[in-house]
């Protein structure tokens, strides 16, 4: 979830009223925000935003806007948006996209701002917006990359085209000398971080002005000249590139509204595209592209369990920045320019809920009667645990992931049927537990200090490969028991098994087993009605040695799901 830092002065200049920290904590939930901290030395508010689908809230201006609107109920208006009917004047500011860029990163759009000196605080805010939009919402620049440039140095039109990575050269930010695009991908830190987005393409995206002065190599790095924005600048060009137009338009709208809220004048830029889009080939940005979302009043009230009147609904949505009208019991909600998170009528319901005030909905228990029930496996597991504990065993609980050493090497088995993780974070968690026995032996290997005898068990899940299943794996409920101590031996094991299965009402026979985990001739399978229930035996000294255990161990592992089937006829 995105976390932002907001400077006190900027935040206060954006808010229409003053809030104490307590007051902020009280009002923040309407923006699904949490006050993470307030650093009074650095004069920074730390804010966590919980809605990953509301990138408009990931900035000081965005949070302030949500609070102001909520308090006043008055909608924000921005006069610089074009839409399918209106095209704002963009003067000579144009961005021309060349078809050569289509296979690698087809879209680039932008707008300019002026009328305010970029302060240190505003620069930080812009950089933060860029980072949150591109990393969190833009999937680490894959779907959105944003660049900020010194507009006064640009000779419009700006050109976006595919460039030869070997031949095209410029001085990127953070470097002293010219590098080719290919060199940037290979050597520049940003190239190493983001170059993979484009590196498989024969051409790389390239942005330059009409004089051939370089703006950037999107989505990787700006030029060290036009792309080097500093505090004190007054004219900015903001550009967004990516594979999907809607994401870019939304990101541009959000940043444009933020800039306007911070006191800039937004100057539209007309973007010419060489391909058809739902908004034509000439799009003047910022561009309002969102569609109204409808929602039946009946559905809304049924979902909320309330009976809200039309005016209450319109007021509630207004406080969320949404212009709404109701006719024939259908709400038509017009999303604000900076939001595009309405996929379904359900999304309107939530905004009404928040706008109306969550605390105004009284909790009521559901009235349907339903019978509670545990799974059969859980019920049998409890029965098994009772019997095992009655025999003096301590219940253990273990992790379900482990290492090759624990599950395979130490057990002297091949591990052919074990489930391996393709992308383990560490070799300690590389395999899914196929059996409870390695877990129990791990206990023994770390518990030599605990008074003997040890009698431990776990009822838990194991999983292993099973070709016949759709997933090629199976998850089972197992019981594993282990006893260890100077006297631990086969006779005890026999007693534990016969006692458990007697009280579980399961008839069984023991069959021979050849298993490297056990001493040959001192282990076996438990079979009931032709069904394999599990295995048991004296742990082989080679296994104990691998685990660094110097006390004899006997163990048994039973399949609870098989036991369930055996008991079905009881």
């Amino acid at each position: 979830m995105p976390k932002i830092e907001v400077h006190e002065t900027l935040f206060e200049s954006l808010l229409t009223q003053h809030y104490t920290d307590d007051a902020l904590e009280g009002i923040f939930p309407v923006a699904k925000a949490e006050l993470d901290g307030h650093d009074t030395d650095e004069r920074l508010y730390k804010i966590e935003l919980n809605d990953t689908n509301r990138p408009d809230l990931w900035s000081a201006a965005g949070v302030a806007r949500a609070l102001n609107t909520y308090e006043s109920g008055a909608l924000c208006t921005y006069d610089f948006f074009s839409d399918e009917k209106v095209r704002r004047d963009s003067g000579d500011r144009r961005l021309i996209v060349d078809a050569s860029v289509e296979p690698v990163r087809p879209y680039s759009i932008g707008f300019a701002v002026n009328g305010k000196v970029v302060s240190e605080t505003i620069l930080e805010a812009l950089i933060q917006s860029q980072e949150k939009l591109c990393n969190n919402f833009g999937r680490k620049r894959k779907s959105i990359a944003m660049g900020v440039y010194r507009s006064d140095l640009i000779s419009y039109p700006v050109h976006y085209r595919g460039a030869d990575p070997q031949v095209t050269r410029f001085v990127p930010l953070g470097a002293e000398e010219e590098m080719s695009l290919a060199e940037i991908v290979e050597k520049h830190p940003k190239g190493q971080e983001y170059g993979h987005i484009v590196s498989s393409s024969p051409v790389f995206p390239f942005l330059h002005d009409d004089n051939g002065e370089v703006l950037s190599f999107p989505p990787v790095i700006n030029s060290a000249h036009i792309g080097a924005v500093e505090a004190g600048d007054e004219h900015l060009f903001l550009e967004f590139s990516g594979p999907g137009l809607d994401d870019l338009l939304l990101a541009a709208s959000i940043v444009a509204c933020d800039c306007a809220d911070m006191g800039f004048t937004v100057l539209p830029v007309t973007c010419s595209l060489p391909y058809d889009t739902p908004y034509g080939r000439e799009i003047t940005v910022p561009y309002y592209f969102q569609k109204p979302q409808t929602c039946e009043v009946a559905y809304l009230n049924k979902t909320l369990g309330e009976n809200l009147g039309d005016q209450e609904i319109i007021t509630a949505l207004g406080r969320m920045g949404i212009k709404a009208a109701i006719s024939d019991s259908v709400i038509t909600a017009v999303p604000p320019e900076y939001r595009n998170d309405f996929l379904h009528a359900a999304d309107i319901v939530e905004d009404v809920m928040i706008g109306h005030g969550l605390s105004r909905f009284a909790p009521i228990l559901p009235s349907d009667f339903t019978a509670g029930r545990l799974t059969e496996a859980e019920e049998l597991s409890r029965k098994v645990k009772d019997i095992i504990i009655g025999m003096g065993f301590q219940e253990m609980m273990y992790n379900y992931l482990g290492s090759r050493r624990e599950y395979i090497d130490n057990m002297h088995v091949s591990g052919d049927e074990y489930i391996q993780i393709a992308n383990p974070m560490s070799e300690n968690y590389e395999f899914v537990r196929p059996s409870i026995i390695p877990s129990l032996l791990e206990s023994e290997s770390v518990s030599a200090h605990a008074v003997y005898p040890h009698q431990i068990f776990e009822v838990g899940k194991v999983a292993y490969l099973e070709e016949s299943d759709n997933s090629g794996t199976v998850t089972k409920n197992h019981l594993g028991i282990l006893a260890s101590g100077p006297e631990a031996g086969f006779n005890d094991l026999n007693s534990y098994i016969s006692t458990l299965l007697y009280f579980l009402n399961v008839e069984y026979v023991m069959a021979e087993l050849d298993d490297p985990r056990f001493i040959p001739g001192r282990c076996g399978k438990l079979v009931s009605d032709g069904r394999e229930l599990g295995i048991f035996g004296e742990v082989h000294p080679q296994v104990l040695e691998s685990w660094n255990i110097t006390m004899p161990c006997i163990t048994c592992e039973l399949d609870i799901d098989q036991l369930l089937i055996c008991r079905e006829h009881l």
Partner: protein, 512 residues
């Protein structure tokens, strides 16, 4: 202070009752007069001095003689001189080697015995180097040996109890160490003399007043019960505050016990338990929950992929087609969808279940209406393992289906959980965000110990989730973060300890 004499041991009681102020109390006396064993004396002295009922008056070392095995043989067969006299009397003169051979004795002891006899003029060495008997009367010196040896049979002989001649004999025939070929072993004993203290006198009086004799019954034995000997006698009271010996019982793991308690709570509230496979596929783990396939939480750095088989064979129809269409353009759910091309290869990719909500999604196609379901599911996340992140952990989740369930019911349910599961009285709801619910609510509670914290997340499943899985009624979905409460309940603050393999830790762990 009132003297509590009920907990005294019979050995202490009998001693206290027997002795008076000013008398010397010694082991020797107790052995003789109270028939104590030496061990009893030592125990009684140690306990009573510890309590201050007796105090040491003096301490001295005395010499005692203990009959050895060798000595015992001499008692049975006689001393070598006596045996030589008897042999010569029976056989006539014999050479010393012949004597040694016949008596089975070492030549050296025959030599010294013959020396004694010749000195006392009982024997002499005659012609042909044979020993001859001169008289049959044994000198005192040799008869004393026999009487001292017999005395040794009765126990340790105090040095002070011997006459001068006896002492002379015994000194000659005893050793401190290596006494295997001597009739006696020298034993040094430290003798301590105690006397009753004032406190001891008070204890004695208290015993007399309470009629405690030290003859009270100790352990109740089977023999005691069958004989009926206990009748008419009293039982010795035992000390209540004696530290107990450690027992290692068979026992539940307190964390599993807590999870079981939560399960029972939920069952008591009308929820039916569900469960499922640890290996999931992207379809159920994310797609069915309307999380777009490009969602950041579905990244390789958030979910564990299964190496082999990397993909499930098939995804259940009609759900696959319905969910795919819902992602693409909303299908018939009333949504505009995510507007991208659904990846049918990606959806089959197998992962380790990363969220409990998967089980809710899987339950939907087979759920009853009305219905309430829950599960405590082991989940896996690609996280660095530390005090607050485990490689695998439990999530507690559930759903409520009903024709008319709504937001207010969701709030009611959350309040119920807060009160029943968390024991909280104060509840606060705030809007939340989950990709699969709309509206979404977080519930914060004021816990009696932990203060305000987020108990869980919840919401009403998006129609894109429910309709695509064939459900036309609203579904309330909830998840409870019970780990924090579990940690508090168990008095630990590191998630890793929930699954510790350390047997001693688990044996000793107890819950609040």
């Amino acid at each position: 202070m009132e003297l509590d004499v009920r907990n005294l041991h019979p050995l202490e009681i009998r001693l206290l009752r027997y002795v008076s102020v000013g008398e010397e109390i010694t082991a020797e006396r107790l052995i003789k007069e109270l028939e104590y064993q030496i061990g009893h004396c030592n125990q009684a002295f140690s306990w009573l001095s510890g309590k201050g009922f007796i105090s040491e008056v003096s301490r001295s070392t005395s010499i005692w003689y203990e009959l050895t095995d060798y000595g015992r043989k001499e008692v049975d067969l006689g001393t070598p001189p006596v045996r030589i006299v008897a042999l010569l009397k029976k056989n006539g003169p014999l050479s010393l080697p012949e004597i040694a051979h016949k008596l089975g004795l070492e030549k050296s002891s025959i030599g010294s015995a013959f020396g004694q006899l010749s000195k006392a003029k009982v024997c002499r060495m005659g012609e042909g180097n044979v020993a001859q008997l001169m008289s049959e009367d044994l000198p005192d010196e040799l008869t004393i040996a026999a009487s001292v040896l017999r005395k040794g049979l009765e126990g340790l002989i105090a040095e002070t109890s011997l006459s001068a001649v006896e002492l002379a004999y015994i000194k000659k025939n005893s050793k401190k160490r290596g006494a295997a070929d001597s009739p006696f072993k020298i034993v040094e004993k430290e003798e301590v003399i105690y006397s009753l203290t004032e406190e001891g006198a008070r204890a004695k009086q208290a015993l007399l007043d309470a009629h405690i004799t030290g003859e009270e019954l100790g352990s109740v034995t089977s023999a005691l019960l069958s004989s009926g000997d206990w009748k008419g006698r009293s039982f010795r009271p035992y000390s209540l505050n004696t530290p107990s010996a450690r027992l290692i019982p068979g026992r539940r793991n307190p964390y599993s016990e807590y999870l079981q308690w939560v399960k029972d709570k939920l069952v008591s509230l009308g929820f039916e338990e569900f469960d499922g496979s640890l290996v999931e596929n992207e379809f159920w783990n994310g797609d069915a929950l309307f999380m777009p396939q490009f969602h950041s939480a579905r990244d390789i750095h958030d979910v564990y992929y299964v190496k082999h088989p990397s993909h499930a064979k098939v995804i259940e129809e009609p759900y696959l087609s319905q969910v795919a269409a819902t992602h693409q353009d909303g299908w018939t759910t009333g949504s505009r969808g995510w507007n991208y091309t659904f990846d049918h290869e990606f959806t089959r990719r197998q992962v380790m279940r990363s969220q409990g909500t998967v089980l809710s999604a899987r339950q939907l196609p087979k759920a009853k209406v009305p219905g309430k379901y829950f599960g405590i599911a082991r989940c896996f996340r690609y996280d660095q393992v530390d005090a607050t992140h485990g490689a695998d952990f439990y999530q507690t989740e559930g759903i409520v289906l009903g024709d008319d369930v709504n937001l207010k019911n969701l709030l009611g349910l959350l309040k119920l959980f807060a009160e029943e599961v968390a024991g909280a009285q104060e509840v606060r709801y705030v809007p939340g965000y989950f990709p699969f619910t709309e509206p979404s609510i977080e519930v914060h509670i004021k816990h009696p110990v932990l203060g305000w914290f987020e108990l869980g997340g919840s919401g009403i499943f998006r129609p894109e989730v429910t309709k695509a899985l064939g459900i036309d009624v609203p579904v309330l979905a909830w998840g409870l973060g019970i780990d924090r409460m579990a940690l508090m309940h168990l008095g630990i603050n590191d998630l890793r300890e929930l699954f510790t393999p350390d047997i001693e830790h688990v044996r000793l762990r107890r819950s609040k």
